[in-house]
């Protein structure tokens, strides 16, 4: 081995001590970081909840229900029920039903979605996620996405 590339004992000890200090700091930091990191609680994979009786909805009426803890907007149209995530894809505000325009509207930055969840106006970058909805024994049932 070339003498020029030889590592002195002092340099080696410096590295060991520096590495030891970094490892020591990491050993303290790792539990702190993992403690602060949110624990991801996951509910059941698919949840179905009732949005109410079919008879309680008339055409173009909407309602927001909680499905797996997330708000979902349910709208009755003459062709049937539609359900979408009520969280606007722009900045997370809760959308509502604009009866005049017959569109789903975000009150924060004037984002509009049609009854397929597609963006038809405003700044939202993505469509709303659709949820399955079915009428079972007169009850409007909404599935988690």
């Amino acid at each position: 081995m070339n003498d020029d590339h030889k590592i002195s004992r002092r340099t080696f000890l410096d590295w060991v001590l520096t590495g030891g200090l970094i490892a020591w700091a990491a050993a303290f930091l790792a539990p702190v970081v993992s403690y602060v990191w949110p624990s991801q609680k996951r509910g059941p994979a698919v949840q179905t909840v009732s949005a109410g009786k079919e008879a309680d909805f008339h055409d173009w009426q909407s309602k927001i229900v909680a499905v797996s803890g997330h708000p979902v907007i349910v709208v009755r149209t003459p062709q049937g029920f539609r359900a979408f995530s009520a969280i606007c894809t722009h900045l997370g505000c809760i959308v509502g039903w604009d009866a005049t325009r017959r569109q789903i509207a975000c009150p924060c930055h004037a984002g509009f979605f049609d009854l397929n969840g597609r963006v038809v106006g405003g700044p939202p970058p993505r469509p709303l996620t659709e949820h399955g909805v079915a009428v079972i024994n007169g009850e409007v049932m909404v599935k988690s996405a």
């Binding site: 708000p71 009520a86 900045l91 997370g92 505000c93 604009d98 700044p123």
Partner: protein
């Protein structure tokens, strides 16, 4: 025998009291440059306001409960049941606004007088960090009443961080303590607001003040050509400048109490994660950034809105001309004025955007980007429930 000499003698037997007295004497009578005026009191005012926030904050913590079921109710208790609770919350809320204003004025004064130049670059950088901490205090404190406005302003504010490439989603998750704004978010913001930020800010202020006292106040002379202060023209820190600060301090107390009485801090409605109210707006010091973000796609908006703070932080290292007098720094002063005007204009547009206003007898709807649309009475928008 009087108490002080006895106490001093007792201490002197144990500690080097003379050295401490000499230090205090030197600091108290330190000569200040002759142009030191009322504009130089805004730094101290910011410090008084920080102390006001600490004292009123500790008092609020006695009754405040940081959970989603109790936060709103505990603030309502403070406002309606606790003796002078309305005043203490009012002083805290207005103190926050005035602190941001005073730090801003202090920075504007420092900028236009060229006081950030060599050898005081680090004092300026620490000042920018103090401003950052101050508005982070505002952001974290805004959520604590857990009302509709604070809940949705926090939802929108934290959602914006999600657009930062690669790390945005992780940052959002870390800030919120989960996917949405929940009790976890409230706890995190509370800890940041009452424990982390106060200590961080105290540390930065300590170093900022230390550097200011060691290097002294800047004069208007060119960098490297500063002359020693003429003792005949100098202003003694004590009592002259301290008295000036005392006058401003008394006026500030008067203004704060008046504001707290005339415009008490509002509470509004309790946060409802399933209903977003119309017209949610951030605090006034975020309005210009809030409006600016509307003109760009999310990521580009974040990059554009990062320009002013980054520019502020590195400004002493960009503007290295030796001149301090504003008349001899047309470019820097021009950029400073343009920045201020833009911030004010964007702030005003942000305030009026997405609202209905009446001007000169006509009704207008100001859209998301601030453009006015004349409204006919019959065509006013109606929303289904």
């Amino acid at each position: 025998m009087k108490v002080y000499p006895r106490l001093r003698a007792w201490l002197a037997e144990r500690y080097d009291v003379g050295a401490v007295e000499q230090f205090v004497e030197h600091q108290a009578h330190k000569p200040l440059p002759p142009q030191t005026g009322f504009w130089h009191t805004f730094g101290s005012l910011s410090l008084y306001l920080f102390l006001n926030q600490v004292v009123t904050g500790i008092l609020l913590m006695i009754y405040y409960r940081p959970t989603t079921n109790t936060a709103f109710e505990s603030i309502r208790f403070i406002m309606t049941k606790a003796h002078f609770g309305w005043l203490i919350r009012g002083l805290h809320a207005w103190g926050a606004t005035l602190m941001v204003l005073c730090v801003l004025i202090h920075m504007v004064r420092t900028f236009f007088m060229g006081a950030y130049k060599k050898p005081r670059e680090l004092t300026w950088v620490l000042g920018v960090l103090i401003f950052g901490c101050t508005i982070t205090f505002g952001f974290t404190g805004y959520l604590l009443p857990w009302n509709q406005l604070s809940y949705w302003a926090t939802t929108v504010g934290t959602e914006i961080t999600g657009a930062i490439p690669y790390v945005g989603e992780y940052m959002k998750l870390l800030l919120r303590g989960g996917e949405g704004v929940t009790g976890e978010t409230l706890a995190r913001f509370y800890v940041a607001h009452v424990v982390v930020l106060p200590w961080v800010l105290t540390g930065i202020i300590a170093v900022h003040l230390f550097l200011m006292r060691v290097q002294g106040l800047s004069t208007m002379e060119r960098v490297g050509e500063e002359k020693p202060i003429d003792p005949q023209k100098a202003i003694p820190f004590f009592p002259h400048h301290v008295l000036k600060e005392g006058v401003i301090f008394c006026a500030l107390i008067g203004v704060m109490v008046t504001l707290a009485v005339v415009w008490p801090a509002e509470l509004g409605e309790k946060a409802d994660p399933f209903v977003t109210p119309e017209g949610i707006k951030p605090e006034w010091y975020f309005l210009s950034t809030y409006q600016l973000l509307k003109y760009f796609p999310k990521l580009l908006g974040i990059l554009v809105s990062m320009v002013p703070p980054v520019l502020l932080l590195i400004w002493p290292f960009i503007d290295r001309s030796p001149e301090r007098h504003p008349k001899k720094r047309p470019v820097a002063v021009g950029i400073g004025i343009a920045g201020l005007v833009l911030a004010i204009v964007f702030g005003i547009v942000g305030h009026f955007s997405e609202s209905h206003v009446t001007f000169n007898g006509k009704h207008y709807f100001i859209d998301i980007k601030g453009a006015p649309h004349l409204e006919q009475p019959a065509a006013s928008p109606e929303k289904a429930p």
